[in-house]
Symmetry: C2
Subunit: 282 residues, 2 copies
Amino acid sequence: MLPHFADLLVQSISKAGAPICVGLDPVLDRLPAALASLEPPQALLAFSQGVIDAITGIAPAIKFQSACYERHGSAGVASLEAAISHARAKGLVVILDAKRGDIGLSSEHYAASAVSAGAHAITVSGYLGPSGISPFLAAGLGVFVLVRTSNPDSDVIQAQPLADGRSIAELMADTVNHLGKAHLGAQGFSSVGAVVGATKAHEAQALRARLPRAFFLIPGYGAQGGTAADVQAMLTKARGGILVTASRSVIYPTAKPNEDWRQAIHAAAVAFSREISQVVQG
Amino acid sequence: MLPHFADLLVQSISKAGAPICVGLDPVLDRLPAALASLEPPQALLAFSQGVIDAITGIAPAIKFQSACYERHGSAGVASLEAAISHARAKGLVVILDAKRGDIGLSSEHYAASAVSAGAHAITVSGYLGPSGISPFLAAGLGVFVLVRTSNPDSDVIQAQPLADGRSIAELMADTVNHLGKAHLGAQGFSSVGAVVGATKAHEAQALRARLPRAFFLIPGYGAQGGTAADVQAMLTKARGGILVTASRSVIYPTAKPNEDWRQAIHAAAVAFSREISQVVQG
């Protein structure tokens, strides 16, 4: 039996001190030179384990980009499974960023796969409707539904206005809120969260108003242009409910001369944690 | 270099005689008794190979439900890779039903994964916008974008009216049509297709009018309630542009006494082919 996801997340953030999540999106041509002699799936795993060790105690959560591992076929997926297992052993909250979205029965299979791998939560697409999301919740996982993504051309779909005045992103937010009411934890947050990019902060306050009980998984801070004010717009009144992710800025830091790559990642995670702590304190 | 997907599909349908696609959605508790002694990934592979052999020469295309294989972890994904390889060797058009949908760079990884596995095309979600779809086309794959799905509660999102009078499904259709114009083949069809469920035929004519050059991948015929008239509403004026999928009715047929399971699947595929031929002839 998995713990209630939102309660676990609140507890882990409180312990770590900042609502941050390190995104593990490994690509071969950016791995440390020390790993260059390994076969690709082994290099991905060694890098993943190094990142996990470096951020343990600093970040409450880690987000695995499934595509980066799937790129290397079944051997890459085996590395993902082993990396998730290592993250679990280190006590990290594990989010599988797989953006799955299918009808009920296939979603059940995806949910079973994520649970077997050891994920606590998964990112999902809601385009097929609530019945594509519910199976993940029934399996005990938390979900982060794609509501408003950080890529510029997401406007083509997500920003379009409905006849009733809402945007498509707001329709998705209301769908998430409705589903989430049945999955509230003891800390007042739902296990049904939302992906809301930090580059869309002019809409963030409206989305927060529609989703008072949802955790926002927030990509796009920093490198993609999201600012402290953008993130602050997504906080709840109690200054909670957010999980800010950073990937490249943490996992590919510029190392000092003679610094081990894991030390450099640790330092980058510490800096990211401090920065977001200050953002939350406002 | 992959052939132009839509041209390949037109050619394969013409050779096989009917625009059908067998959906391979294997679940352990429905596999033939003869495979019960195998470990799950091996049972999935043996079943997949049997289905492929049974439908070769009858169906032009096969659609692999990725979730069914992913359920069994990296070993299940290895079975999927081997099954796709077998389908390619038999000359089938291979559609990976993975419904991936991410931003550009992650979509590039998913595209590379599908190409490596041997797929000709993949199903994708368009919620993140055109830049999440384009990487699959750049990799030489055909795509089928989720436009109108066959599950009842898809209406919660896809049927909602926009301010300009279109439904969200029609917005997605227009996005698909716009992307597709740059990917037309010699036969007049685009490699950017659409998933349109056969249970939504009251909308099918409107979607066909918006997507004159797109192949429609059509689930929901038969078991889910789609009728011949529903499918006919999706034909182009030249009575083409469709690929009707059936899964359970073909891969889990009721075998006659002493009939081998592969013979029963072959017979079910032949019956499905005849039925859809008649539907197309109207």
